[in-house]
Structures are given as structure tokens and as C-alpha cells.
């Protein structure tokens, strides 16, 4: 069917050769949309719309609505409207909630302060076409390719209190000298952040490397002709041209901080010291516990935080586009 129609349609659609009068074009366009076209168009626009509405909007709105209810997930009849109770409990009674918010914020601050500049540093070094550049690139980028679950698993072997690499090396696996990297609430968040940074640095390196490849070489040449040293060139010429990359980096890092989950879940299931919002949601909704209303309330808090970050970014971007 398709071969027949595709061969036929061009003839029908193409206006007669030669300089076409401008006025004919709109009419020709109108004719282009036959009945069949309109049906296909409706499908093309309709299917994604239905999917989008069903999978994004309905679910998001449903979970917002559920946040004001109490529901054990058994039959729709057991949904009970409880108003703001879930939020009240969350803010006052839940001993894990505020630590979780704090940890998500720490996660973001650490990622933006340590691995991001380090990734930039690596990218600048690799951009100099040193020898074995490809090997280094691969080595630094490898942690990003590996699934976070695997990363978590590997690092918890490194941190294992009895047989782990670190404690064995420094002799901290004897009674009285234990350093409990995974369990100690003063240590475990930092331990897991080292693992997260290890991965994030590679990610940032690739983003910046791509950005640096796009920097016009003539800019470097000009600045060196002006007598700027390497640091001055970087600070005053290269870094400002990386502005679009920086925006992407910022957004990616925020997303990483908000969706942090898999690494910690594998590492110690979000035990004391490493509580995260995403893990609280999972613990409350998934599994036998099924406190769906309560878990949804936590999810709504996470949604509000995400929106507070994303909306200013979108506004700024759109404003820039309009100006351009």
C-alpha cells in the first residue's frame, strides 16, 4: 500500500513546474491535507498526547491527590481523605524527613563544589592533546558508563568494615579500632559521596570536554598574542565561552542530587545518616508497607523542590530565546 501511494502522491502534490505563483501555495497546502492525512495527523498528535497525559499528567496529579489521603493500596474503597495530616506528620513526627532534605542539599553542594571543578580540570588537561589522552578519557569516563547499582556494590566492598580495602590497609578492622564507613551516621554520607563524586567527575569531564572542543582556536591564539598566560587565558577567555556548558552542568548536577537513589540504596538502603527523599518514598510506597498516601506526600515535597529549581531555569531560558 505504501509504495503505491508514495509514488503517486508527489505527482498530485507537486505544483506544476516552472515559477509558481505565490498565491497558489496556500491553496496547494490546504489540498495537501487529504482526509487520510488528517487521520494520520490526528494519530501522530493524538497517540503521544494520550501517552503524555496518561503517563505524566494523570500520574503526577493522581499522586498529588493521593498525598492528601491515607491508602494501603488494597481496593479503591479504602482510600480515606485525611487533608493535610500526611504533611503534618511528615514535618513534625517523621525523624527521617528533615535529615533526608538536608542530605539531598548536601549532595548537591558537594557535587557542585568538588567533582564539577575537578571534571573541568581534567577536561582542560585532556584538551591539551597530551599523550594517551584517549586512555585517560576512557578511564575517567568508565564510572559513568557503569550502572550506579554496580558502583554502589563495588564501593560497599571497598568500605566493608571487616574485609574492605580501606580498613584492611589502615588496620581499622580490629575490635576497638573499627571505622564503620557504611554504618556510622557521621561518616557514611561522606563515604557514599566519595563514590558519587568519583562518578560525577567523569560525567562533568565529558561535558566540559565537548564544550572545550567547541571553543574557537583563534580565541586562544589571540589571547596568547596579547601576552596572556595560561591561567589568564582560561579565566578570561575560555571559561566565559563555556557558558552554555555551565548551564547544562548546573542542571545535570541538580538533577543528579534530586534523583540520588540507586547508589545509596545498594550501599546501605538509606540507613541512618544517608536518608534521602527518594529512598523515603520508596520505603513507604513500594514493598509490603504500602503507605501510599504518606509516600505520595513525600513525593510531592520532592516535586515542589524540583519545580522550585526548574521553573527559574526555564523562565531564564525562555527569556533569552525570546530576546534572540
Amino acid at each position: 500500500m505504501s509504495s503505491e501511494t508514495t509514488t503517486k502522491t508527489p505527482e498530485a502534490a507537486v505544483p506544476p513546474p516552472g515559477p509558481a505563483p505565490v498565491k497558489r501555495v496556500p491553496r496547494g497546502r490546504k489540498r495537501l491535507l487529504t482526509r487520510r492525512d488528517r487521520i494520520t495527523l490526528a494519530f501522530m498528535a493524538g497517540v503521544p498526547t494520550v501517552l503524555h497525559v496518561a503517563l505524566v499528567w494523570v500520574t503526577a496529579l493522581a499522586s498529588i491527590a493521593l498525598a492528601f489521603t491515607s491508602w494501603d493500596g488494597i481496593g479503591f474503597g479504602s482510600i480515606k481523605w485525611v487533608g493535610l495530616d500526611n504533611f503534618k506528620q511528615l514535618f513534625t513526627d517523621n525523624p527521617q524527613f528533615w535529615p533526608a532534605v538536608e542530605h539531598n542539599i548536601i549532595w548537591f553542594v558537594v557535587l557542585i563544589l568538588i567533582p564539577t571543578p575537578f571534571g573541568l580540570f581534567l577536561a582542560v588537561q585532556l584538551d591539551k592533546r597530551i599523550r594517551f589522552s584517549r586512555v585517560y578519557q576512557t578511564a575517567f569516563f568508565l564510572p559513568v558508563v557503569v550502572s550506579l547499582a554496580v558502583t554502589g556494590f563495588v564501593w560497599q566492598l571497598v568500605y566493608n568494615p571487616d574485609t574492605g580495602l580501606i580498613n584492611s590497609l589502615i588496620g581499622a578492622n580490629k575490635p576497638g579500632h573499627y571505622i564503620d564507613w557504611i554504618g556510622d551516621p557521621h561518616l557514611n554520607l561522606w563515604a557514599v559521596l566519595i563514590a558519587a563524586s568519583w562518578r560525577h567527575a567523569g560525567y562533568m569531564m565529558i561535558l566540559y570536554l565537548a564544550g572545550l572542543k567547541g571553543v574557537d582556536p583563534s580565541l586562544r591564539e589571540a589571547s596568547s598574542l596579547d601576552g596572556a598566560n595560561e591561567w589568564q587565558t582560561f579565566k578570561n577567555v575560555i571559561f566565559p565561552t563555556l557558558r552554555p556548558t555551565n548551564t547544562v552542568v548546573l542542571v545535570v548536577t541538580i538533577i543528579e542530587a534530586l534523583r540520588a537513589f540507586d547508589l545509596v540504596f545498594v550501599f546501605n538502603k538509606g540507613a541512618q545518616g544517608t536518608e534521602l527523599l527518594s529512598i523515603l518514598i520508596t520505603n513507604n510506597i513500594i514493598g509490603e508497607s504500602s503507605r501510599i498516601g504518606y509516600g505520595s506526600a513525600i513525593a510531592v515535597v520532592l516535586l515542589v523542590i524540583s519545580l522550585a529549581v526548574i521553573i527559574p531555569y526555564l523562565i531564564a531560558t525562555f527569556r533569552k530565546e525570546r530576546r534572540a
Binding site: S2, A13, V14, D72, G75, V82, P95, Y178, E288, R291
Partner: protein, 437 residues
């Protein structure tokens, strides 16, 4: 705007053919969905010669052991058991939606509160007719475990195992230790072991549930079975002085627990017992899985957690029991009854134990001659118990234990002095959870 004919026609053609292609693909996909669901829907018609069974026994050893039972059942009755095995944890996590959807006729589950929860939600069928036949095979404590809150039977137990304090006979012999029977003796023994350079009590709480086992033991030894059940059922208060006393006792014992337990798995903790670095380990009898050498396994022994309050002695045993329940609307009711009647016989349990010797039979009538010394002791301990508990996360609401008690107990282990504020926090959260439905 370039409106040259070529500029207009060529993209439009390709766009049109693309549209058509995509529409066709969408149509195909649309047609595909009902086709696929039709596939899933077929084969569910009831057949008097088959019973479907949802299994959480995904590990190789129990899986085979269960398969042997069903094979024996088929030989006896001619009814085929169609087993639908899911990963153990996945099964547990999806149990709510599984039971509400189109569950299998029979499914693997645990005794106690977790069973009663689904019975009360009408997601399981009562099986008093089965128990009329198999009732004589089980001791009173097992019968109690198999009943819902309404007094009807909902559960057929198959296997069980005890929680106890495990130790190595050779270590006790070498140092001349004696098995402690009272709390004071236990504390004295811990002190002595520490002096002798041993870790008195091996411990690992990375998975967050082992601490619950310690709490259970101290609680029912100190406050008795009835209070333990009330506390787990959300009726007694966590701010009660009795609960505070449990944590006081625990604090007394805590310095003798293995260091660095928050990051250690139970397997690693068990290894310290295997390597004779630790003197004792409070855990379920599955600890034996870590004793891979036969000489080590033969050296392993256990004793019941010592008496704390003479009013209760050692009358309660924590013995998590696995067995079967019937879903809300089984398709082949007669077949289900026959299967459960078979599963409730000592014969079925003996078939199981042949392949999986890490547990013991729930029935007191099962043949014990093939038991190892460890199994025999476990069997005696369980069958002579006045009351049986199932473990905190099986005796209480799962949402309460997983979201409140697991982090709560970890907090206590980190900071044993902050018990008061911890207990009032637990009580506040408990009230809201038990109040909801």
C-alpha cells in the same frame, strides 16, 4: 521563505510518507496490545486436574524441595500443581497487588500477623474444612499461629526454624564456659569472653532486621508473650516503662556486641563465629548456612536466650513458620482442599526436609530420625514451647516495622542514651500508622 517547487514538494512528500508510516506503526501497536493481552488471558480456565500455586521459594534448595512435594502429591492424587515462582523479595513486595489481581489458587506465605492482615482484608479464604482433617498433626502453638483474628483457620504450616544463641562447642570447652540460663550468667559470660580476647556477641545490622531479633528475645523474656503480642499489634504503648526496661537490658549487653555492626551483614558476622573469633551469635538457625565445612557445622550448637523474668522463664520461642494460604477465589476449590490436606501431613514435610535440612517440620508427627543433632534440638525447642512468635516484621504491620522500627532500632544502637525521645517518637508514629485503616 523559499517557495520554489522543489523546496515545497520534496519535504512535503517525505513528511507525508513519514506520517503514513508512523500512523501505520501506531495502528499496528494499537492492534498489538489487545493481541498481547489476549495471550496473557488464555489458559486461565479452570481445570479440575490442576491447582495453581504462587511460590516465593526462588532459591535453588527450597525450590527443588517444594517441587518434590508437588511431584509426590501428583503421584498420590493425580492433580498437577502448576507452580509460578517469583523472586523471594519481589514476591513479598508485590504481595498486595498480587492478591488483589488474579492470584494463584494457593500461595506461599508466613504465619502470624502478616497472614491475619490479609485474612482480615478478605484477600484469603478460610480453610476450616482442611483443618478438620489435619488438626491432629499439629501442636497447639502451631494451631494458634494458623488462625486469623476471626478464629478461622487461614494457613497451613510446613516448616519452621528457631532463633537462638549459637555458639561453638569447642570454644566453650576450651575456655570452660557454661551455657548461661539467666541474664546475670549471660552478662558474666560476656565479661569473661571479653577478658579471654573473644568478641562476646557477634553482630551485624547492615540489613536492619537482625536488631529486631534481639529486641524480640529480650522483650518476651522480660515482659512475656502476651505483652509482646500486644506491643507488636499496636495495642500496648511504646512509652510503657516495660519497653524502656527492654532497652535498658539491651544497653547493658550492647558493649559486648561486635564493633562496627552498622555496616556489617549477618553473613560477615557469622564468619566471626566460624573463625572462632566470636563466642556467641543470636540469630535464626539459618546461620548454619555459613558453616560450609562439615567439621565446623558439627561443632555448632545453640541455647535458648536466657531467662530474664522468672514469671516467663524460657517459655517463648521465636520460630518463623512458612506455609501456605488460599487466595480469595480459588478456581479449583476441591483441588485446593486436597492439596492443602496433603501439605498438612507429616509425609509432605518429610519429603521437603529430605532436600532442605536447614529447617524443621512444623508438625510434631513428622519422622525425626533423619534429623541432624542441630535439627533435633531445634525441633524439641519448638515443640516444647508454650508460645511461638514469628519475628517482629511478621508479627506486626509491615509498614510500621519497615518505616519506623528498622530506623528506630538503628538509632538506638547508635545512641543508646536517647531511648526516651526515641520511644516517644516511635509511639507517635505508631499511633498514626495503626489508626490508618
Amino acid at each position: 521563505m523559499d517557495l520554489s517547487p522543489s523546496g515545497l514538494s520534496i519535504p512535503s512528500t517525505s513528511r507525508r510518507s513519514l506520517l503514513r508510516g508512523a500512523g501505520g506503526a501506531a495502528l499496528l501497536a494499537g492492534a498489538g496490545i489487545p493481541l498481547l493481552s489476549a495471550c496473557g488471558g488464555s489458559g486461565t480456565s479452570s481445570d479440575p486436574k490442576t491447582v495453581s500455586l504462587g511460590s516465593n521459594q526462588s532459591d535453588a534448595v527450597p525450590k527443588k524441595a517444594y517441587a518434590d512435594i508437588y511431584a509426590a502429591f501428583k503421584k498420590q492424587s493425580g492433580i498437577t500443581v502448576k507452580v509460578n515462582t517469583k523472586d523471594h523479595n519481589t514476591f513479598q513486595e508485590q504481595i498486595n497487588s498480587y492478591l488483589q489481581g488474579t492470584p494463584d489458587d494457593v500461595f506461599n506465605w508466613f504465619a502470624g500477623y502478616r497472614m491475619q492482615f490479609f485474612a482480615a482484608k478478605k484477600l484469603a479464604s478460610p480453610i476450616d474444612d482442611v483443618w478438620a482433617k489435619i488438626g491432629d498433626n499439629f501442636p497447639a502453638a502451631m494451631k494458634k499461629l494458623s488462625k486469623g483474628e476471626d478464629g478461622k483457620y487461614y494457613f497451613v504450616p510446613l516448616t519452621t526454624y528457631p532463633w537462638a544463641v549459637f555458639y561453638r562447642k569447642s570454644v566453650f570447652q576450651q575456655h570452660g564456659y557454661e551455657v548461661p540460663t539467666t541474664w546475670d550468667q549471660l552478662v558474666a559470660l560476656c565479661k569473661q569472653m571479653k577478658k579471654d580476647g573473644l568478641v562476646p556477641i557477634a553482630f551485624g545490622d547492615k540489613d536492619q532486621w537482625p536488631a529486631m531479633g534481639t529486641f524480640d528475645q529480650i522483650n518476651f523474656r522480660l515482659n512475656g508473650y502476651d505483652f509482646h503480642v500486644e506491643l507488636m499489634g499496636g495495642k500496648a504503648s511504646w512509652t510503657d516503662a516495660k519497653v524502656k526496661a527492654v532497652f535498658d537490658h539491651w544497653s547493658e549487653l550492647l558493649p559486648y556486641h561486635q564493633d562496627g555492626f552498622m555496616g556489617r551483614t549477618w553473613q560477615d558476622a557469622a564468619q566471626t563465629l566460624v573463625s572462632k573469633k566470636a563466642g556467641m551469635y543470636l540469630l535464626g538457625s539459618f546461620v548454619a548456612q555459613q558453616f560450609t565445612k562439615k567439621a565446623d557445622l558439627d561443632d555448632l550448637d545453640f541455647f535458648a536466650f536466657p531467662e530474664i523474668n522468672s514469671a516467663y522463664g524460657q517459655d517463648t520461642v521465636e520460630a518463623p513458620t512458612d506455609g501456605f494460604m488460599v487466595s480469595k477465589a480459588p478456581k479449583n476449590h476441591d483441588g485446593v482442599v486436597k492439596l492443602l490436606e496433603y501439605l498438612g501431613t507429616p509425609a509432605a514435610e518429610e519429603v521437603y526436609l529430605k532436600s532442605d535440612p536447614s529447617v524443621v517440620a512444623a508438625s510434631t508427627k513428622a519422622d525425626t530420625s533423619a534429623y541432624s543433632a542441630l535439627q533435633k534440638k531445634a525441633f524439641e525447642m519448638i515443640s516444647s514451647a508454650k508460645s511461638l512468635t514469628q519475628f517482629m516484621d511478621r508479627d506486626s504491620r509491615p509498614d510500621f516495622t519497615s518505616t519506623v522500627m528498622q530506623p528506630g532500632l538503628q538509632k538506638f544502637l547508635q545512641n543508646p542514651k536517647g531511648v526516651d525521645s526515641l520511644l516517644s517518637s516511635i509511639e507517635r508514629q505508631k499511633k498514626t500508622i495503626f489508626a490508618s485503616s
